[in-house]
Amino acid sequence: MSEKSLNLNLRVWRQKNADAPGKFVTYKLDNISPDSSFLEMLDLLNEQLIDSGEEPVAFDHDCREGICGSCSLTINGIPHGKGRMMTTCQLHMRSFENGETITIEPFRAQPFPVIRDLVVNREPFDKIMQAGGFIDQRIGSAQDANALPISKETADKAMDAAACIGCGACVAACPNASAMLFTGAKMSQLNLLPQGQPERYKRAINMVDAMDANGFGNCTNIGECEAACPKGISLDFIAMMNRDYAVAKVKRFFSGAA
């Protein structure tokens, strides 16, 4: 072990279910290696809790390598913790001080109700995707993708948008619980490419409508989402969404569809 181990105070949000009131409970956890990841640290906390006959803390995780978007947590007030461009599973204990009190809260947003402890329901993101986060394509009839020339700049931009892992940190970081960074990224990754053109404007309207219907707030252009996003998704994609939606509405108006 390279550095000496950490003794920590963990102030963790405990809540039985969506309807029960939650509260913070503070646990002491000693001898944590600075090389362990944040989630490994929580695993050790849970072992300690199970050993003493208490309920373990529920938290989301899956890949533990920053690609699946399952892990969440607001750590000392910042979704995914203070490390820039990383998920909670990529955060290591060496970023904390010995003796530090770490406050761990669930992502907070009305559309993301707490299921238990630190686990929230991010299903509204699925609803937004189902509203337009896809292209229509007959099975088996897709042409060779390389047959469609796409400029490097455009391809890069679409890839940047597609880097979104749907974790919800943008919503959690936003004081308005706005989902515009997620929706902007998921819309633009398709709207930028030729394959996304046929449904471009229908997609813009349907995804924004789904976003609103699920109770997310309104963007005030303060940029907290971009700063918290583990994939560095840019506010540019919100601007693209704003533009596509405006064009979609104008097109719809002049086509007489209201």
Binding site: G77, T103, S178, V208, D212, N218
Partner: protein
């Protein structure tokens, strides 16, 4: 109305108001010239043809109402979307200005109401309605002098003295309120002028920093330009300070 619809309304109404404040400030700076300048300017605005004055007023009123009503809807919805905050709550990078738009906005609304009662309807100081003075014909760009001189009735409302007295040391608290309000306008616009481009989708990462800086420059210029007038009035250092009429020897208009 959809979330983005509301953002567009904020941006468009904000743009109208920004355009107005830039023009208003440029007009006000005539307080640093001979009294004829601002008095002839005010005369000209009051006597615009085709009811243009009222058209402009109605557009501004519509913009203010749209801006405030939409702001209230946004604030209510945003509170509802985030009913529970964090126990550790500190922004990662958001500016103070961007997080306090609703508060700077509300105080600006109070300012707008007071300002209209102060210098437009003059309810705050009804005696200001009796301030008149003849144009001296020092030569302004407004052309009011030649027009009025020909009719022999060149007494106009003495806006110059009204503003100078309104900001004089005896009303120091009013000057102070104006300077504070202009500080809040600076805050509001240092975020708003760049934000409105994002809201309508006309911004990207290259233009974001440029627009942020341009917003800062415009907001500073507006603050300095606007605040200079109450400050100069308070200190009694307008270049033509000795031409300010006392409220006690006001001239009645030559024609009622």
């Amino acid at each position: 109305m959809t979330s983005l619809g509301k953002k567009y309304i904020m941006a468009v109404s904000g743009l109208i108001l920004v355009g107005f404040v830039i023009g208003h400030m440029a007009g006000n700076l005539q307080m640093f010239l001979h009294p004829d300048w601002i008095n002839a300017y005010a005369y000209k605005l009051q006597n615009l043809p085709y009811g243009l004055l009222w058209i402009v007023r109605l557009v501004l009123l519509a913009a203010v109402v749209a801006h405030i009503v939409t702001a209230m809807l946004l604030v209510i919805e945003n509170r509802r979307a985030r009913p529970q905050g964090y126990s550790v709550d500190k922004p990662i990078q958001a500016t103070f200005a961007s997080r306090t738009m609703r508060y700077s906005g509300v105080i600006l609304l109070a300012f707008i109401v007071f300002h209209i009662l102060h210098f437009t309807t003059q309810h705050v100081h009804p005696e200001f309605r009796d301030l008149y003075r003849p144009l001296e014909g020092v030569g302004t760009i407004h052309g009011a002098y030649d027009l009025l001189e020909a009719t022999g009735k060149n007494h106009v409302h003495d806006v110059y003295s009204m503003v100078a007295i309104g900001f004089s040391a005896q009303y120091w608290y009013i000057s102070l309120f104006y300077v504070i309000a202009m500080g809040l306008l600076f805050l509001h616009l240092s975020h708003g002028i760049s934000s409105m481009f994002q809201s309508v989708g006309l911004r990207n990462h290259t233009w974001r920093i440029r627009l942020d800086r341009a917003a800062l420059v415009i907001a500073i210029a507006l603050f300095v330009g606007f605040a200079s007038i109450p400050v100069a009035g308070l200190l009694g250092i307008l270049p033509y300070q000795d031409m300010v009429q006392g409220v006690h020897h006001m001239h009645p208009p030559t024609t009622p």
